[in-house]
Amino acid sequence: MEKKTCLYDRHVALGALMSPFGGFIMPIQYTNITDEHNAVRQHCGVFDVSHMGEVRITGPEAERYVQHIFTNDVAGAPVGQIYYGMMCYPNGGTVDDLLVYKMGDNDFFLVINAANIDKDVEWMQQQMQGFDIRFEHQSDYYGQLAVQGPEAEAVVEEVLGLPCKELKFYTAKVVAHPQPLPKGGESQGDVDIASSGKESPSLGEGLGVGSSIIISRTGYTGEDGFEIYGSHEFTQKAWDKLLESGRCKPCGLGCRDTLRFEVGLPLYGDELSADITPVMAGLSIFVKLDKEEFIGKEALAEQKANGAPARIIGIELADKAIPRHGYPVLNEAGEQVGEVTTGYHCLSVDKSVCMALVKTEFAKLGTPLQVQIRKKVFPGTVVKKQFYNKSYKK
């Protein structure tokens, strides 16, 4: 039985096409994927991404623990800094890719993929031995909205009243005074932010801000945008305000996938998995081998030095036929050398393209390859796996 996010009733009322994703029943589209995709590229869209999981790591050895399980390097990071990276198995295979927010000294907020929540929590708890930390699984508490697109900053500031102009790319801040989190379920009643502490009363006015909201300049679309974590009550009120404003189109997971795909961002389960290491996925810049220690370091260092057996690449097809996840990738002789991980008819550039995992000898740019689509075989060429340029505001 799939879980529902705190916005489920709203999605159904909007007539969204609902479908299971990562253990949740989620909106795939409200009108159609193309319109929603274009809204994010050209104006502003809002996504319910409350299915994402959250974990808070605090305690005297929180930093040492995060360094142990995470491929990126958070040592000495300034408060508010966010890092993208992976958790890996000792053999280098990927447990999950995640964001790590530094909330304070020895205080980290980890955002993990919905489909991996149970597995990740179990994995992280298994690695806790010998670390003096507090591990809080907070997925049931937080709702999350992603407001994405070139107009996102103005929308978040003017519609939600959350100041975000000064936030730099991959930084976060807490709005409202942090309160102890209620144990499970939704918080009750309106709590005026004015009564909750240090921030100006105009911040997030009318949004029922009880405990803290975390807002970050991050996203999964290749556009400027923000991700906002708060209670279910906050998330519902913020969603309503955004839709009432008419300045922000509700967008489903369908276009979230086309948007992330076009700019070459990986999706766990497609471009990363227990069998696909970050090095194979071309994500080595998020693997800090100069760090003293982390799980998977030796295996990843070996792959980086001696070459990985396979790589994630981009393929552009000459034809309009669409390569999909799992379709065979063939060399010119017709022998299978890999398979498609994600493919679309790319909406922003009107071409059929895919990402694929292929044997490393076929990964070089310009290599001619073929993709088998149902009964036919279509010629293509290895290209950079970024099919459309990101436009982040840094």
């Binding site: 795939i28 589209q29 159609n32 994927i33 193309t34 995709h37 369908g254 996938d257 086309t258 309009k320 036929a321 669409i322 999909r324 679309y344 008819h345 909406l347 059929s352 689509i373 149902r374 036919k376």
Partner: protein, 126 residues
């Protein structure tokens, strides 16, 4: 809302056949194009290919997914709707006017296995 056209025969997998003499024009219903969303590619067989009732003869691709086309009747392909190669979105504009293939029916008795518009409407409502 989906529209339905009378006088056609429909399959459970949402293909229709419009019979004209010994030929059948096969396409997808308006209900199907609604469910698919924006059609971005139509994978069609070639002229002279044989299609068999109940078997896949091509695919319609929306942004998100590929959906197999299942032949409602058997026959030989005598024409494919080439307009769909450049404008697959014609299926969204008018699914009944834009048939996908024209076949010479090899067993017209197969038409009896298909639904009329009333039965198909009921099928879609379930």
């Amino acid at each position: 809302m989906a529209t339905f056209e009378s006088g056609l025969r429909y399959s459970e997998s949402h293909e229709y056949v419009r019979v004209e003499g010994e030929f059948g024009y096969i396409g997808i219903s308006d209900y199907a194009q609604h469910a698919l969303g924006n059609v971005v590619y139509v994978d069609m067989p070639e002229v002279d290919d044989e299609v068999t009732a109940g078997e896949e003869f091509g695919a319609v691709e929306s942004v998100k997914a590929a959906s197999d086309l299942i032949a409602p009747v058997s026959g030989t392909v005598v024409e494919v709707n080439e307009a769909l190669e450049d404008e697959p979105e014609l299926l969204n504009k008018d699914a009944f006017a834009n048939w996908i293939i024209k076949v010479q029916l090899s067993d017209p008795a197969e038409l009896d296995n298909l639904m009329d518009v009333e039965a198909y409407k009921a099928h879609c409502e379930n």
